[in-house]
């Protein structure tokens, strides 16, 4: 490291994994985690997200009430020790429903992004690696999908297939496929012409081996970042679809549905809309901040800087 790279005019620097092992002996993932831990925002976000995931996993144990436990004598009560988040118009405990709603939101978020990740990355890989007509055909289809506003497209898909969590997952998944395809393709285009790839090809490596051993691993960092940011938007899209009644159906707890139901009570029961709203804000914010942190850590240039500065 004799000179610091200047932004804008960067030589194609090999990613750290390809550096001589003398530079660091730690496995790459541990180094990444270490760097991430030193970024307070990302670290806190990650911790909060872990907490949210734990809540989603152990929701039924944690929630003081069932999702539909009712007792009309306690409708629309303000937050108290008995009901820290208050109760809704059907006298259900809002804390319990926010906790139980976490599972719904995260399940839809994770599964839809997983769908988009797998399909989008595959399309991006093929388009970027083979180029020419494969690229043209695949990316024009992606452009068409991309031309629709995301939520509008999701609403259209759900409208055709019917409301429900499964269709919400599919709809949000389809919406994010083009984004993953584009990010992957851009990344692959850069990696494809690297010396190590050409060297590998010149000694007769098959396409499959090239893609899986050299191209994909080195094209991965932007995809990982995109995954985290997409999770934020997927949770938000799930809330939007639920709000419109196109996601999980009543009486299942879901943050978007709770927001929709709370509209008529906004002047009498602030807690009804505030707590589900906070849950959405917190989850989306954390995925976004984690995504930012990951970008800093995974970007080779930034990473070099951070690793260097940390020594």
């Amino acid at each position: 490291m004799t000179q610091l790279p200047t932004p804008g005019a960067v030589p194609a620097e090999p990613p750290p994994a390809e550096l001589p092992p003398t530079r660091t002996a730690r496995p790459r993932w541990r180094e990444t985690l270490g760097l991430l831990a030193r970024n307070p925002t990302a670290a806190v976000s990650a911790l909060v997200l872990i907490a949210i995931v734990l809540v989603a996993v152990f929701d039924e144990t944690l929630a003081p009430d069932g999702p539909n436990e009712q007792d009309q004598s306690r409708a629309l009560q303000a937050p108290s020790w008995g009901h820290p988040f208050g109760t809704d118009e059907l006298s259900r405990d809002i804390l319990s429903r926010v906790l139980l709603g976490a599972a719904t939101s995260l399940r839809v978020g994770f599964l839809s992004v997983a769908f988009a990740l797998v399909v989008g990355t595959l399309i991006g890989l093929l388009a970027g690696y083979y180029g020419r007509w494969v690229d043209d055909v695949l990316m024009r289809v992606m452009d068409m999908l991309f031309a629709f506003p995301a939520v509008l497209l999701a609403i259209a898909i759900v409208a055709v297939r019917g409301a429900g969590p499964t269709n919400a997952i599919l709809a949000i998944g389809i919406v994010y496929v083009p984004i993953f395809a584009r990010v992957t393709r851009a990344s692959v285009l850069g990696v494809r012409e690297e010396v190590y790839v050409r060297a590998s090809r010149s000694v007769g490596a098959s396409d499959l081996r090239l893609i899986t051993r050299h191209v994909l691993p080195n094209a991965a960092p932007p995809i990982i970042v995109q995954t985290s940011i997409s999770l934020a938007f997927a949770v938000l899209a799930e809330a939007a679809l639920s709000f419109l009644g196109l996601g999980p159906q009543r009486p299942n707890p879901s943050w978007g549905l709770m927001l929709a139901d709370s509209r008529g009570f906004i002047d009498q029961a602030w807690w009804y809309s505030v707590f589900p709203g906070l849950a959405i804000v917190l989850t989306v914010l954390c995925f976004n901040l984690l995504g930012d942190g990951l970008r800093d850590v995974l970007d080779p240039r930034q990473r070099t800087l951070m690793a260097g500065g940390g020594r």
């Binding site: 629309l76 118009e89 059907l90 009543r250 009486p251 008529g264 906004i266 002047d267 009498q268």
Partner: protein, 508 residues
């Protein structure tokens, strides 16, 4: 708020939807009074689909037409019994097959023409001959004749004790001037005898001006503007800050807090509307009477009513509200989950069983009520799957019989025939559940032609009890008709039939 009334809700919805198809140009109605300052601004939830009283089924239209047209007789505000309006008096023949109406003198239409018996014959013949929305109300009418300008005779094929209710319960039976359908575009214009005349209508509001030559004496205000505000909270805010002086679009959850509010005057009366749950007789196990009775026993109506209306309603196990002379005091179901489980066992069905419950977001209180019902049925072993549909899909599925159960309301009107015939006769046009009980058929048919009110009431009583016992409908509650106005506004009365009459209103 509901969009339709008078015709049972569901049918009304279909027709209103159909009516929306035509591109009705709304232009300004003809002539009439200048714009004074003393105009009452009323916030209503929906825009009228059109102004032809004989065609429309939309409640939003009748809110306006109530003030523009008259009928031969009219229900009074207190107990909805029929009083003279355009007819001053009437007599019936001994065989009950001929009714003679003597018409009021000195009545003029908004266009200045004199009102006489030819207008009545023209209006009724138009409804009958063109088979318009309310033609079924004239089912027993053989002929309508005008022996002289002050007399109208209605002859019947069989005794019709509720003829006055049929021709006077609402402005769907309004008297228009002879030849009005050719002379005016009744979709957007009006020529009635009422206290106000239709001035103009657009996408934001409908404006009425006072009719100076009104037979009952011209109203003291200069006119009425109906402004459409669909969001209840916005309507209430508009009332609070003086933008409007009256609204019927009051959010039920606010009723309690408004009662002690000095800025708003609140009027409320139990309405003739009723909410119910209906189960499909063609779908097992809901064809089993014990299963239906188990569900009726498991449901706690107080809780449902509290959640759906925040207490602004009366629970009821029959259709007709308490306070009506036709009320049937019968409430056989006590909420009891053990008894419900026992009934299910007795029916021999395997629990847990699943029941799809169809509701529509067009009537949000059904969505709230369904969630309470789901919670109440779960412990007895019935999994309720709430199916929330848009109203068009809801209506289509109801029509196709594609449901386990659904929830909605009817506006029952005044006469008991309006509450039971269409819904529970085996041949009833709105008997979507498929209820068939020869005894009920016989009772309802006999009641329809029974002249003695006491005997007639008794027949409907018996029919109602069987309907409740069989759970043809699972009746839930009669909602309150709640309206709010500015303090100081006088001469207005909230009516159980939800008719909105501004004739005697005086502004502060």
């Amino acid at each position: 708020m509901r969009t339709n009334r008078l015709l049972p809700l569901v049918t009304a919805g279909v027709l209103a939807l159909a009516a929306c198809g035509g591109g009705d140009e709304v232009d300004t109605g003809g002539g009439g009074g200048g714009g004074g300052d003393d105009v009452l601004v009323a916030a209503v939830s929906a825009e009228p689909d059109q102004f032809d009283p004989h065609v429309t089924n939309a409640y939003a239209s009748f809110q306006v037409l109530e003030n523009v047209y008259d009928t031969l007789v009219v229900p009074n505000a207190q107990d909805l019994t029929m009083e003279p309006s355009l007819a001053e008096s009437w007599t019936t023949s001994d065989d009950q097959l001929s009714w003679t109406f003597t018409l009021r003198e000195g009545v003029t239409f908004h266009d200045g023409s004199e009102f006489d018996s030819a207008d009545v014959v023209y209006s009724y013949r138009r409804i009958i001959d063109e088979e318009l929305s309310n033609a079924y109300r004239f089912e027993t009418v053989a002929d309508v004749t005008a022996p002289d300008p002050r007399t109208v005779v209605i002859t019947l094929t069989r005794p019709t004790p509720n003829l006055l209710e049929q021709i006077g319960a609402f402005k769907g039976m309004a008297i228009v001037s002879e030849g009005a359908a050719d002379e005016f575009d009744l979709q957007s214009e009006a020529n009635g005898t009422g206290p106000f005349q239709l001035e103009s209508s657009d996408a934001n509001s409908t404006v009425l001006t006072t009719f100076a030559d009104y037979w009952g004496g011209a109203p003291s205000i200069d006119g009425v503007e109906f402004r459409y505000i669909s969001e209840p909270t916005s309507a209430l805010t508009a009332l609070r800050n003086g933008e409007v002086q009256w609204t019927d679009n009051v959010p039920p959850q606010n009723v309690e807090s408004l009662e002690g509010d000095d800025e708003v005057e609140l009027g409320s009366v139990t309405s003739v509307e009723y909410f119910y749950l209906s189960m499909n007789y063609d779908v097992a196990p809901f064809d089993n009477r014990d299963v239906r009775r188990a569900i009726a026993t498991a449901i706690d109506r107080d809780e449902v009513t509290q959640a759906a209306r925040f207490g602004a309603a009366q629970t009821n196990q029959t259709a007709i509200p308490e306070g009506s002379p036709w009320y049937t005091d019968y409430a056989p179901f006590e909420p009891d989950q053990d008894a419900a489980r026992q009934l299910l066992e007795q029916a021999g069905v395997e629990t847990p069983l699943t029941m799809g419950l169809m509701v529509t977001d067009e009537y949000p209180e059904t969505v709230a009520a369904a969630q309470v019902i789901a919670a109440q049925l779960e412990p007895v072993g019935i999994e309720v799957e709430i199916q929330e549909e848009d109203f068009a899909t809801w209506l289509a599925r109801q029509g196709d019989g594609d449901f386990d159960a659904f929830m909605l309301s009817w506006i029952g009107n005044i006469d008991p025939a309006d509450f039971y015939e269409n819904q529970h006769l085996s041949t009833g046009g709105s008997n979507y559940q498929g209820y068939e009980n020869p005894q009920v058929d016989q009772l309802l048919t006999a009641a329809a032609t029974e002249v003695d009110p006491a005997v007639r009431g008794d027949l409907y009583d018996q029919a109602a009890r069987i309907i409740v016992d069989d759970v043809s409908y699972l009746y839930l509650y009669n909602p309150d008709e709640v309206q709010a106005w500015a303090p100081g506004l006088t001469g207005y009365e909230v009516r159980a039939d939800a008719a909105i009459d501004f004739e005697n209103v005086e502004l502060p």
